[in-house]
Symmetry: C2
Subunit: 150 residues, 2 copies
DNA sequence: CATTGAAAGTTCCCTAAGGGAACCCCAATT
DNA sequence: AATTGGGGTTCCCTTAGGGAACTTTCAATG
């Protein structure tokens, strides 16, 4: 399957899709986030093909999303989120909120999150980094930025 | 190529990936968001194969993310975001913020967003829907929710 | 010293999904 | 009747994912 190269496009969404959008990648990052950090753990938990898991992990390390480091004198490695990778977990949190709202059905959300700051079970909300007011899809106008093609 | 069925997993992230995570889908939603809403416009702007575009559009309509409606007495249709679909644009905004921060390089972000409420060029920030404090990857603890497997 | 054992990959084949280009259908216009 | 243009289908080809077996590395054990 010839795959279009999203990474070369002049678009932050396309570039993000290039590192984050391949099948399994969000689930791998979720697992690493909650503490499943070794190859065997990830493979067992996800049921992903070992071949693909190898590819994804190397790709994510290459792109600075995960750090691969030994945890034993034997050749054993674990994967941990970098600061860059933690930024992608923000994306996961918004995906979680959306899935909880629109896809959980009668049963309700599979997982709750307790916020350290207030101790409550809650979810994320998008706000403007400048004024703090809500900032959603139709609360903004796009304008050409410095890195635009034109 | 995702032959694995993410939609059946007991995980809001996996379920969201099932509708949002296929190649091209985020870019299609981006285009619809900024006003490119017709088949020919999308195909020309993205350079996507017509076959795949057809598949994706129908899939998104089927899942209630897009609405397909006629705009002419001839058989002409445009695709618009539903409320459910607008929720996925929130995910795009966070992806944009991440791409702007980590992948834009020297050139800077390709696009800026002006926030209606304050008039400033700004980006999104994740905050707790309950207390309003910042809520990021390591500011929460996961707990089993009502829809958990156990 | 040879064996065991487990983690972390490789390798191989098969199938299914994406790319590209040509083709089709329909309704309005000329 | 012929033309035009949007919105798709259909076809073939290539490549990526799934699955399972196999390999490598090194510490610990007998």
């Amino acid at each position: 399957m010839q795959r279009t190269n999203f990474g070369e496009m002049v678009c932050s969404i396309a570039r993000t899709v290039d590192v984050f959008g391949e099948p399994w990648t969000p689930l791998i990052l979720r697992d690493v986030w909650v503490g499943l950090s070794r190859f065997e753990q990830l493979q067992a938990d996800l049921g992903i093909s070992r071949k693909v898991l190898t590819e994804r992990l190397h790709y994510l390390v290459e792109h600075g999303v995960l750090d691969r480091r030994p945890y034993d004198r034997r050749p054993r490695y674990e994967y941990v989120l970098t600061e860059k990778g933690a930024g992608l977990v923000d994306v996961l949190m918004v995906m979680t909120a959306w899935g909880d709202k629109w896809l959980a059905g009668e049963a309700g959300p599979p997982v709750h999150y307790r916020h350290h700051a207030c101790g409550e079970i809650s979810g994320v909300e998008l706000r403007c980094a400048h004024c703090g007011e809500p900032m959603r899809a139709y609360d903004v106008d796009p304008l050409p930025g410095p890195g635009s093609a034109a």
